[in-house]
Symmetry: C3
Subunit: 262 residues, 3 copies
């Protein structure tokens, strides 16, 4: 039983997502389709790549992930398939797939050139329905990646920004604000290894200076206190209890985070 | 393997959609359920019928489409089943199903009268759960349309408005604004057949006069330039690149569009 | 064929829901997953329990309902499984599951202690993915409830508030405002048994005094008239036709409702 996941910036009001699913099921009726999200901010490739990288490792081996955040649709940007060690990734060659694929382990990358696997008529504006969904459906039903196109190595190699470590401080960044208002940074457990559990440290989020305590879970916080913890995807996040930390400190994706004295 | 699609104005917060799905699966456990959208504007039958007509042609033959945008629930409006050439359509007799069914090819229309196919207790306010979902599930599992009720011909025959063509100008209408802000009109390729690819023409959208270039895809646009193209559903749409064209010109569904000199 | 339902306050933008589904399908690939809603107001256990109680009775026998509205994640609150007469309920021990489970008929309640049924690494902040989803998937695939943990009787026994009946008046409460603006109260048919169909009565919703007519369906209303009816979940709701009753009278969850002269 194969699973095919979908991640887009199409939203849930228009019929776009359903058209992709109809396209998939017309080719591979037995595949299970799971939505990751369709509410990536329009054209925000970075946000899409982060959410895909969070979700993909949880899926069983053999899953085909289709992701479409694609400001360059209809231009020269290529459609690609990444064959990973456990999973497959189908979407535009704009970096969207790479962080997830890299943590899966990239074996080969193919430019999708085999027209026989696509819709008979490929529109200029909806490659999700006409290229990515049908090719992914064929892969889910057993088509070999090498039969989808020609192997390439000059694909767009995007990655999340990495924190900079200087003596006594770390310069990091907000990579996501989740719907609870938790501020997810690109810091990982290794960056806070010198901080003792329960210890309070000084951080700045943008121009906002805060003091936060190293906690295990949101429920360890009292009142309006701010804390930080290693979240369920392995990134350090700043949180408050039953409140919206991001609103309190005015944080949003891309804002700088400085940690002093670690 | 049968597919059953759902389109409603129920939103995703209330349990209504899940209750319809539970109703379907209680009767026909093996059917695949695909959501088209549940975010049709409340009671906007025209918007619902447009989105259904866009999505339905992409589904495999044999799909049962259930659509519920139903301000008349509990009144004398009839529940119907349309048997099309490739697909089935189940919902209220208020025009919602007709544009999609017409492009599928209408063979027969039935008023749903067979109580044995409905919930044992039919509520006055939720025919989606108590009539449409169970009848559609029976059809998906093989019940013949003629066993669902009595054939009728006086169903509500709604359709999208058609553009008016006069000498040297076309009077059209905005039929949808998608979540990217693309302004979808009721113009089709045939209405712009005298415009050369790359040519710039004058249009008015409501009281807003614009100049737009005939493009192939959004990525053909430069900066804040406006363009128009034949979109993925066959309708002419007005767009800008990585921006919201509808917000820029104040367009919304129903607003008039005039094209001069075509 | 088993069905597993999901209800959370996670929203649809983050990858949380997809991670739960991936977790389920990794263990029990053949289960059907149905979303009830993921748009419960953050941390609003009462709202979640109401929506679950509305939806659950519609599902076939054997369904496993997973619900996560969990401000206490990572604290001492216990993860539980309720074995009901027809269905199973998995989630936090904070009352969320109880109204739905009670109307199903509670047979046994278990604290989830069997680590072999959970993720190899249980995070402190995402028990939906690491405890509830995998345990529920095992139950859907045939694991006996008693193998999930130890039986308990001191679980949190939340319930919806019941109306108070005094001579000549009933003191009730708004328990939900649906997305159409219908004001759902905790009154049931029995509380209005002395009101004649078509009769107009006086109510107050918070400080707002209204007059409403006992109707069968929304379409019985004329113009801006307010009415009340027994809704599709068995609760009395106050409505207007193609308008938002809750906005008109400023109603929201928890506001008092008084009915005089019944």
């Amino acid at each position: 039983l194969r699973i095919l996941s979908l991640l887009t910036d199409f939203g849930l009001t228009d019929p776009f997502v359903a058209e992709m699913k109809a396209s998939v099921l017309s080719i591979c009726p037995e595949v299970r389709i799971i939505d990751i999200t369709h509410q990536v901010e329009k054209f925000n490739v970075g946000m899409g790549s982060f959410l895909l990288a969070c979700a993909a490792p949880n899926f069983p081996a053999g899953t085909v992930h289709v992701a479409v955040v694609d400001p360059g649709v209809g231009s020269e940007r290529r459609p690609i398939l990444v064959e990973g060690r456990r999973s497959f990734f189908v979407g535009p060659d704009n970096g969207l797939l790479i962080p997830a694929a890299r943590s899966d382990g990239i074996l080969h990358v193919y430019e999708l050139t085999n027209r026989a696997l696509m819709s008979p008529r490929v529109s200029a504006t909806f490659h999700g329905r006409d290229i990515f969904a049908p090719v992914a459906a064929h892969v889910a039903c057993g088509t070999a990646p090498k039969d989808c196109g020609r192997q390439i190595s000059d694909y767009v190699k995007a990655a999340f920004s990495e924190p900079t470590i200087e003596t006594g401080r770390v310069i990091a960044e907000v990579i996501h604000v989740d719907s609870f208002g938790n501020i997810v940074t690109n810091l990982k457990r290794e960056h806070i290894k010198n901080v003792a559990f329960g210890e309070r440290i000084a951080l700045s989020v943008g121009h906002h200076k805060i003091s936060a305590r190293y906690i295990g879970s949101y429920s360890d916080l009292r009142g309006r206190e701010l804390g930080f913890l290693v979240g369920s995807h392995g990134y350090v996040e700043i949180a408050c209890r039953e409140g919206n930390a991001a609103k309190r400190v005015g944080a949003r994706s891309g804002v700088g985070v400085r940690v002093v004295g670690v």
